[in-house]
Symmetry: C2
Subunit: 122 residues, 2 copies
């Protein structure tokens, strides 16, 4: 296997994904390539430091990563396969929910349900 290029392998896999991936998810996708878990973490960390990746936190713990060049978007979390999918578009009227004295600096919307594959398979 090639060395010194694992970082690229990691970034590429992330770019090809249809949503943010956790370190473990990413690692299992690269399992055939012999990349170590530590390398995945290192590549992700470096990617974030260099501004190429962004870490996102969704429900259920774990941090996931995705390329930073994507527009503002939200996620669909499949309760069956636990995979997160990007959703493009946003919602309105969030400001009206903010109580007096609170300052909203961002928001996160996560839709829950079953994805295409899991819903069909069931």
């Amino acid at each position: 296997m090639e060395r010194a290029k694992q970082q690229l392998t990691v970034l590429r896999a992330l770019a090809e994904a249809d949503g943010p991936l956790s370190a473990r998810e990413l690692w299992s996708r690269l399992s055939g390539t012999g990349v170590g878990l530590a390398t995945v973490y290192r590549a992700l960390q470096r990617g974030v430091e260099e501004g190429m990746l962004e870490s996102v936190e969704l429900l259920g713990g774990g941090v996931r990563y995705e390329p930073k060049d994507r527009e503002h978007h939200h996620y669909f979390l499949c309760s069956t396969c636990d995979h997160a999918f990007d959703l493009f578009g946003c919602v309105e009227g969030l400001e009206s929910l903010v109580p007096d004295g609170f300052q909203m600096m961002g928001h996160e919307v996560v839709l829950l349900g079953t994805c295409d594959g899991c819903g069909t398979a069931a």
Copy 2:
């Protein structure tokens, strides 16, 4: 201190809170009462089993708990004190974000920013 009533103490503290609390948060609020952490976890677990409590997961890991009798609502997560506040009201237009073939069964909206206390103090 009274025994056999710690479960009630825990449920009451949760009912009086202005948002979902994590086990630790709850424990620190009860620190004066001598309730043990294990007891807090036990009370929460029993509360969920008996249908009185609901566990919610927000960004940033940790599971939080709140009484199940509350209406559909969302949360405001303060990035300074890391406390979650209930927000009543909801948003529209979420269905339009769902891709073909996906089935939405629920949604979660979390507003991020600084709460009343933290914003004022800063």
